[in-house]
Symmetry: C2
Subunit: 372 residues, 2 copies
């Protein structure tokens, strides 16, 4: 999402949207307390328990009753359609594991730091989403030939950069009608909880989280480039303020490690007993296959190939593991993924909104002969 302040409201930091200090503002902490990451020990689960899945909500969680809910499909279609939740559930159902990641994951590791939700690496999760494919619904409505984009509108409303709006995002017709795009009403076998989009949300496997519009109320076909705030202003790869930048789209490759040993409460430094330990975690790359995962125990000076498990699904992460003979001392562990296109995680990166930062994870570990 975009940085910046709103003239009705107080200024955050120096108002530039970029913070040069390593200290965090109160507003960033308030966002971190509302939104939530997946604790990294959650990497042990191929399917993330629902309450451990990451969550980002731009505005407030709206309350929608199932009774009376209707999804409207309109705009440049032959036949406007209005569907109740029961009608949507009566359509053919698909259940699919999907790894979802916030586009802002890694933002707070950038320096200087774009001010927004201050994710480090934990804005991730894999759930089994159940829903009905979108393409047949658009087909039944009859997209007119001039349709070029589909706009998805959620019920969540708020202000961002002084702009009052409902949360809205668009996809091209080609992307919106891919077979894996779902209107989902269940997560891990249970109805969506309010914070995950009850009663209905969009699921677009492979795209960053902002695409998966929650509390979906309207789908509209249009014949021009959608100019809504969350499309044209927020979620852009920009280097300088004012430039249009490139849109944020597909999830980049990333591997994460479940930190070994036990944590220190406050610093989260890991304490590990000397001996053989199996380092493990999961890796994903949006629509691409992860083809390799490498692990370093010496701060990135040397790398070892990890063993890969089969992917949990076509659009879901795959497990990896790598043995390490841990001797007493202090270490920085790191892991990086490479995907089928050859793209590999960088050591660091930066952009103005703090988007798509898939720089390698670093974990501080202290190994002792015996823990006491």
């Amino acid at each position: 999402m975009a940085h910046g302040h709103s003239s009705r409201f107080h200024t955050v930091g120096d108002g530039s949207g970029i913070e040069h200090s390593d200290r965090f503002t109160r507003e960033e902490v308030a966002l971190a307390l509302r939104n939530r990451g997946m604790p990294l020990e959650g990497l042990r689960y191929p399917i993330t328990p629902s309450g451990m899945h990451y969550l980002l909500v731009h505005f407030d969680i709206p309350h929608i009753e199932a009774k009376g809910y209707r999804l409207h499909i309109g705009g440049l279609v032959e036949r406007g359609v209005s569907l109740s939740l029961d009608e949507i559930k009566a359509r053919p159902a698909v259940t699919m594991p999907v790894t979802m990641e916030c586009a802002g994951n890694g933002r707070a590791l950038m320096a200087p730091r774009p001010i927004s939700q201050p994710w480090m690496v934990e804005a991730i999760g894999t759930a089994e989403w159940t829903g009905t494919p979108l393409a047949p619904i658009l087909d039944e409505a009859g997209l007119r030939p001039e349709s070029s984009e589909i706009v998805f509108t959620g019920a969540d409303r708020g202000v961002q950069d002084n702009n009052v709006h409902l949360y809205e995002r668009s996809l091209t017709v080609a992307e919106a009608t891919r077979e894996e795009v779902l209107l989902a009403y269940a997560m891990n076998g249970a109805p969506l909880e309010p914070q995950h989009g009850f009663p209905l949300r969009l699921i677009v496997p492979g795209w960053y989280g902002m695409t998966n519009v929650k509390w979906l109320t309207s789908i509209e076909a249009i014949d021009h480039e959608f100019g809504g705030f969350q499309q044209a202003e927020a979620y852009r790869y920009q280097t300088e303020s004012g430039e249009p930048g490139e849109p944020v789209t597909l999830i980049r490759p990333r591997a994460l490690m479940a930190p070994p040993g036990i944590p220190d409460f406050l610093t989260r430094t890991r304490l590990l007993e000397a001996g053989r330990v199996t380092l493990s975690g999961r890796a994903w790359a949006g629509r691409e296959q992860v083809t390799g995962v490498e692990v370093s125990t010496d701060g990135g000076k040397s790398w070892s190939e990890a063993v890969l498990e089969a992917p949990v699904g076509r659009f879901a992460w795959r497990g990896w593991s790598c043995d390490w003979d841990a001797k007493p001392g202090s270490y920085e562990l790191s892991v990086r993924a490479t995907c089928a296109t050859g793209a590999r995680q960088p050591d660091e990166m930066w952009n103005l909104q703090g988007m798509g930062n898939n720089a390698c994870q670093r974990i501080a570990v202290v190994v002792e002969e015996r823990l006491a």
Copy 2:
């Protein structure tokens, strides 16, 4: 939990455990991203959806399989007992709504700020817990006459203030054998998710969250004051470092308001359209009844009595509401509860570990004639 750093690990802030700046350390933000508050719009639900309930985990979330799990009851008992999960579930079951709050809620609003999980006001939730009463199990084991405390041990292990330990807390025999104390295996009708203590946790209605030991593996009767870190060092009301202080026990009175209107993404300031609005929220006081809730729209200069709903349960919050004729301008809304003992929320408070801070909530609101 206690402040301070551990000698194996890096120093946080200046190492005193107290931060005089309004800026937050990276370590506090990392804790805020792992743990999670209830977004305050969740106050609309009498029973908090499971994934919206606040969560604090000191160390890592342990993984425990139901198969093979056993709860051990021992120490100063006539007959040591070991129960499987099925055996526990086969015992008489009780389902009870309980409002739970972290003892550190409000810590980050203190100045200077104790460095730890930086809660503002959101470390709260009310769930329906299902479990079996503890007292009959202790009765069957046969507490020896010299037993004075019961120690509850969880499977979560880590380091705090350089002290490697399993998470453990004790209660006096009188507190542990109260009829409402449960060994709970379900939350809101579903088995506990891992992060909430699967397969079994303690539920002690009325006490702050640290009492409700998750991933419970052992219950032991002892004849002395328990000296474990989380009892004797952490969770104390202290004014100065080194003094023993008073133990943190029961939840203090608090009312919270669901912020009205719509939020600004970054500042979370509320924007509201002029006109009549019903302010609402919930209030609780641990084991006591909330007897009054007052609302201020002028920064605490004047207060109006809110209308109270019936409590959701004997140990659960009650709803309140209060109409407000909002005219264009900027406001600070506030709310405060009074309980049956006469205790009322203070305007501010401070202690060394940032415990039990039930100072009044303050919400910044901008009212405009029309939103656009």
